[in-house]
Amino acid sequence: MRIRVRFTKTGPLKFIGHLDVMRYFQKAVRRADIPAALSEGFSPHMIMSFAQPLGVGKTSGGEYFDLDLKDGASFDRDDFVDRLNRQMSPGIEVLNAAEVPADKKNKGMALVAAASYMICFRKGQTDFANETDSISRLSEKIHAYLAQEQIPVLRKTKKSEEETDIRPWIFDMEACLADEKMQNGDIWNVEADPVGFRILVSARSGSNLKPELLIMNFASYAGLSVPEASLLIHRINLYGRQPKAEEDGDLVPLDEIRVVRTDSSVPSSDS
């Protein structure tokens, strides 16, 4: 049985690297006495896979991993969430757990199609984010920005820098007010000005749009002065496409994807 777990990462724990978060959860699962399935061999390990690494310094309300439970283990959502939460450090909270089919197609990582982010600015570091009035002005600029046919940016890849059109990867973008929690430091452990951006962008491997790249590009388009160190980035959630026969199913949060069981894919039978 495969369980998909959604969790948050906020506060000082934003400095914990991706690999260390994985190791943290392996220990937490053991402390919570959750009957995780183990691989064979001399060093048995949990069968755990994480979706989309989150960069050090960013926070999130939508992180995911899949965990396989032992054959015959029972799963009670509330009990599972509660047990894990009793083992969490402040800053990491388990929000949901849901059973997903344990076939290869349905690995968390491969499913990720999009990510939503809230981007704010450290208090007093820009000249627009502290005034609520600037929202309408920014909205106009966003409108014009998105009306461009192409948005070419230089993207660093592993090998070189290449110019890419990121317009198709921007699904939505708006200027808005940040939550109280973001403004007062509960999320980033740093206070933020009230005005920020909410974006929904492609996060598919190969067409993963980094939020800082988009914001810095928009800032230079709109003539905004944004020091890179002022950016505060919070991932709101990760989404997959509701599987349909065609490519363009609806975007739904990863833990809400209902996998259509067809005859060709045999569900829940990895063992």
């Binding site: 724990l13 943290y24 392996q26 220990k27 402390r31 001399f42 050090v56 402040p90 452990n189 160190a229």
Partner: protein, 623 residues
């Protein structure tokens, strides 16, 4: 919001910010208002190393169980953060509260190896605490040192208010009671130190004076007045079973060097290897009850979530109920996906059987701490390991499917001849031959892979070799080259890989190990000129140290290369570590004669540790 001592911009610009934010699972946060005594416990090396240390976990847990005491942790900032903190005048902070160390009541520093001495100065310096104890004021923390290096604290004496000689579990309550009097204003810092000197095991360096002969040897070492005890006696825990031990050790996010539950099964060692300081200063050997260990293992695995448990002791094979303990652990761990790691095992049929159960033979290697190549030399150092035992162990292991062998040797042991040196490659060759002669081709799991490494022998206080000369680095390097050349001349050269340690780091270690108070100047000078993290190859700079010796007018070889006469007053003679001076002298003579001394289980050799009235000295062989 959690207050962090470092702001976002700094944390995002340095390597591994997780080292500096605290918040780990099982770390302890108390309220400042309810805390009377704030103790900053420091391991003066980088976080991943410091977090791997068992002693701090024990004391951290013990202190935090005490009402009114809050113990927090401090590690050395890595060089990148060190630079930022100096530039921006950010004071060093403790992880839990992120408060400056300078505001604490105590700064406790564990001194596990000599090469961390400059890191200790960094800790004091970044904290804003005067380096010299004599310059500290009423509001500075009391700086206290502990750990194996305090068995000769003299090179670092100027920088500490107190040293704690022995195991930390014993006299802290008395020290804290006394400190409460200082806090209440009944005594001042000086008064506190005076009274602390009366507590068993506490050494207050400022209350002693050293004088030197013209030939630079120590002439006298005396208390400043008769109320100060002449001798400082090591404190130890006799009942290890009921001694305090953490139920829930702190679990780092970042991968520490020791990334597992550590179960201490006993203290001390029965073997009496003559080079080994731990084998002498932790005497007598004391075992923990097996049932207690089983409970502690389960409790710690459950509270940490680690997937590995390691047994800790100086020589696990000597734990009398090892079989019983391992049976239990194997049964428990098997169902939970937990690995067992077994360092410090002697290779024999018993340990091979166990290793077969808990390790993947294809990946694991056998380790022989042979220390010397020739039997003659192994007798000199009282290693208690015969060539026959090595060959038997290796053969059984090869038959069991192992084909990776690691050997640890020392070069520069007292009385070492060219023949002894060449026996290192010859022993490796014989082991390789044993493999090819006895394991038929079709059963071989590839070639045998022998890795031999040698370190440069450093004589340590309170060992029978405390009087022995240390080779000069050129001599050591010549010996290492002879080994290397001889390996190349042998038939199985391709199966043997030989490496050797740096020479200069060992010379320094030798100076610090047997140095006196005059060495403090060299350490401070080197630190002022940039020496830091000397235990790390990439940050060790020989030139800084050479210059520091030159400018301080101190000849390092006075401390290392000289054979000391047994009549010489040694800087650490004021410490009673349990092992008597007459025993050490006897053992030094036995070494020179190549006479083997039996281990404590075979026969008592009258080392002096019977005075503690327990442990192996009073327990019949239980195996």
């Amino acid at each position: 919001m959690r207050k962090l001592a470092l702001d976002d911009e700094i944390l995002l610009s340095i390597d591994k910010p997780e080292r500096y934010i605290g918040c780990e699972v099982n770390s302890v946060v108390k309220s400042r208002e309810e805390t009377e005594i704030r103790f900053a416990m420091c391991f003066p090396d980088v976080y991943e190393i410091g977090m791997s240390h068992l002693g701090i976990q024990i004391l951290y847990d013990m202190f935090n169980r005490m009402d009114g005491v809050w113990c927090e942790r401090v590690y050395s900032p890595w060089t990148d953060l060190d630079r930022v903190m100096r530039e921006r005048h950010i004071p060093l902070f403790a992880l839990e509260s992120q408060d400056p160390v300078k505001d604490f009541d105590f700064l406790g520093i564990t001194i596990q190896y000599e090469m961390c001495y400059t890191n200790i100065l960094q800790i004091l310096d970044l904290s804003g605490i005067p380096l010299h104890a004599e310059d500290r004021s009423e509001n500075d923390p009391i700086v206290i040192g502990g750990g194996p290096c305090t068995y000769n604290p003299e090179p670092m004496a100027a920088f500490f208010d107190l040293f704690y000689i022995g195991e930390g579990e014993t006299v802290y309550p008395a020290l804290f009671d006394l400190y409460r009097k200082k806090k209440a204003g009944k005594i001042d810092r000086r008064g506190f130190l005076r009274r602390a000197a009366e507590i068993d095991g506490i050494y207050v360096p400022s209350l002693y004076q050293a004088a030197y002969h013209e030939d630079q040897t120590l002439a006298s070492f005396t208390p400043v007045d008769p109320s100060v005890p002449e001798k400082v006696h090591k404190q130890i825990v006799m009942d290890l079973t009921d001694a305090t031990y953490p139920d829930a050790p702190v679990v780092p996010y970042i991968q520490a060097t020791q990334d597992r539950v550590v179960l201490e099964i006993m203290r001390g060692c029965i073997r009496g290897c003559r080079f080994c300081q731990a084998g002498m200063i932790y005497r007598p050997q004391r075992e923990k009850d097996v049932k207690k260990l089983e409970e502690q293992a389960v409790r710690m695995l459950r509270s940490t979530g680690y997937d590995e448990i390691s047994l800790s002791s100086l020589s696990s094979s000597d734990y009398s109920r090892l079989g019983e303990l391992l049976d239990f652990l194997i049964r428990y761990c098997d169902g939970h996906g937990i690995n067992i790691s077994l360092p410090s095992l002697r290779i024999d049929s018993f340990s091979l059987d166990i290793m077969n159960k808990v390790q993947d033979i294809k990946k694991s290697s056998l380790t022989f701490a042979a220390e010397a190549g020739s039997q003659r030399m192994r007798d000199v150092i009282n290693k208690g390991l015969t060539e026959e035992e090595i060959m038997d162990g290796a053969l059984q292991a090869f038959r069991g499917g192992w084909n990776k062998v690691k050997f640890y040797f020392m070069l520069g042991l007292p009385g070492e001849t060219e023949e002894d040196v060449l026996e290192i490659p010859h022993l490796c060759e014989r082991v390789a031959e044993c493999y090819y002669d006895n394991i038929p081709k079709e059963k071989r799991n590839g070639k045998i892979a022998i890795t031999a490494s040698s370190s440069f022998f450093v004589p340590k206080p309170f060992t029978p070799f405390q009087w022995a000369p240390m080779d000069r680095p050129e001599v050591y390097l010549d010996k290492a080259h002879s080994v290397k050349d001889e390996v190349r001349r042998q038939l199985n050269q391709k199966s043997i890989r030989y490496t050797y340690h740096d020479a200069w780091v060992s010379v320094l270690e030798g100076v610090f190990a047997r140095g006196d108070r005059r060495i403090a100047d060299v350490i401070e000078t080197a630190y002022r000129h940039g020496a830091l993290y000397d235990a790390w190859t990439e940050t060790f700079h020989k030139e800084i140290w050479e210059e520091a010796f030159r400018s301080s007018g101190i000849d390092p070889y006075f401390y290392t290369a000289r054979t000391r006469d047994t009549s010489e007053l040694l800087p650490w003679d004021f410490i009673d570590c349990g092992v008597s001076r007459s025993f050490l002298e006897r053992e030094w003579k036995n070494a020179q004669a190549g006479t083997v001394t039996p281990n404590c289980r075979e026969r008592c050799s009258g080392c002096g540790c019977r005075q503690y009235q327990g442990g192996i000295c009073f327990v019949p062989d239980g195996r």
